[in-house]
């Protein structure tokens, strides 16, 4: 598999955990992994992984390296690499990612765009691959 599937257990080293009995309001910037099991209203931006638990309720735009969505998200998801959407997920917003898996039962109401904004180094690899193919 190209991208590692993160579970709640594999991101034990999470820098931030928003647990099931708290509500967070505001803009949340981080460089590490984030686990969200509770309520979040605002925005999330991290260079790491975001794990959204099955009972989480989020009204926020999310930007991350990779993400797993299990709960309800009302907002846009901009994921640099891999987005895993499990069966309990409800996404009401646009999705932008490089790689995507969606389990049966999941709901996505929004536009899905893939590989739109490739990072520069990945763009070069892709362009080189296209040149090689033309040859």
């Amino acid at each position: 598999m190209m991208f590692k599937q993160e579970t709640k257990e594999t991101i034990r080293e999470a820098e931030t955990i928003i647990g099931p009995s708290v509500m967070v309001k505001g803009n949340f910037n981080s460089s590490g992994n984030i686990v969200i099991e509770g309520v979040l209203k605002g925005g999330v931006k991290t260079a790491g992984h975001v794990y959204i638990g099955d009972k989480a309720n989020i009204v926020a735009d999310i930007e991350a390296k990779s993400a797993r969505v299990g709960g309800e998200v009302r907002g846009n998801l901009k994921i640099e690499d891999y987005l895993q959407v499990v069966s309990s997920a409800k996404i009401f917003g646009d999705v932008d990612c490089l790689s995507l898996s969606v389990e049966s039962g999941a709901i996505i109401n929004g536009k899905i765009v893939m590989s739109k904004d490739l990072p520069a180094d990945k763009k070069e690899v892709k362009e080189q691959a296209e040149i090689d193919l033309e040859k």
């Binding site: 955990i17 708290v22 309001k25 803009n27 099991e37």
Partner: protein, 239 residues
């Protein structure tokens, strides 16, 4: 010069023999100093302020966690810069209520005297809480709290939870990890954040700092540049 600050509770006759033993041992080790007995007319802040004003460079807190916490607060509030640090020594009288001394590697009264003689010095970062300071933890156990983190976002605890802010006393000033660890937890789960500044708002509840003294909310907790220099034992176990 050393100033030995005896907490009020040591005036109880049951500590008489023990204090005599300590004083004899300190004399044997040539560590004599001024003895200041706290009481109704003299609190620890006033006593330490007086000693530092008179030029005392080492304050030895003789008592329990509460004595040490109050001594830290009094010493740090007298320190103007890092070049003029006053040193804190500890003699734990009641070994059960001396978690701070134990963390500094001072577990018995006998060890405490030898540790003072060895004078192994280390400086530790303090976290600020309103006008006070704490070394390890500040804990609030109350429902309906609102927490403002780094002026960026707000946390509401939806159910009764324990709010625990932990300082990192042993990290260097350059360390990017020099942050307060905030845990909010109950039986249903926990939340975890690393931050530099936290405002806790709760109607009427008090926060307990370092298991020893109370501070009313609202309380602002933040990482600062404040340090305390302590005479520690070899077996200190601080992170």
């Amino acid at each position: 010069m050393y100033a030995y600050i005896y907490d009020c509770f040591s005036n109880d006759p049951k500590y008489g023999k023990l204090l005599h033993k300590i004083e004899k041992r300190l004399t044997d080790l040539n560590l004599n100093g001024k003895i200041v007995r706290l009481g109704i007319s003299k609190n620890i802040k006033v006593a330490i302020d007086d000693e530092i004003r008179q030029g005392t460079k080492t304050i030895v807190a003789v008592g329990n966690d509460n004595t040490v916490s109050q001594a830290i607060n009094a010493i740090v509030s007298n320190q103007s810069d890092e070049k003029n640090l006053v040193t804190l020594g500890i003699i734990p009288l009641d070994e059960k209520e001396n978690k701070i001394a134990a963390a500094f590697g001072i577990t018995t009264i006998g060890d405490a005297c030898e540790i003072l003689l060895a004078r192994r010095l280390e400086s530790f970062n303090l976290a600020r809480i309103n006008q006070g300071f704490f070394l390890f933890k500040a804990i609030l156990s109350a429902p309906d709290s609102i927490l403002e983190i780094d002026k960026n976002f707000i946390i509401h605890n939806l159910k009764p939870m324990i709010i625990e802010a932990t300082n990192s006393p042993h990290l260097s000033a350059e360390d990017e990890q020099k942050k307060i660890k905030l845990r909010i937890y109950n039986d249903e789960g926990e939340s975890l954040f690393y931050l530099r500044e936290l405002l806790i708002v709760n109607s009427g509840a008090s926060i307990i700092a370092d298991d020893s003294w109370k501070i009313k909310t609202p309380a602002r907790i933040k990482i600062g540049e404040d340090k305390i220099r302590v005479i520690v034992g070899k077996e200190r176990h601080l992170n």
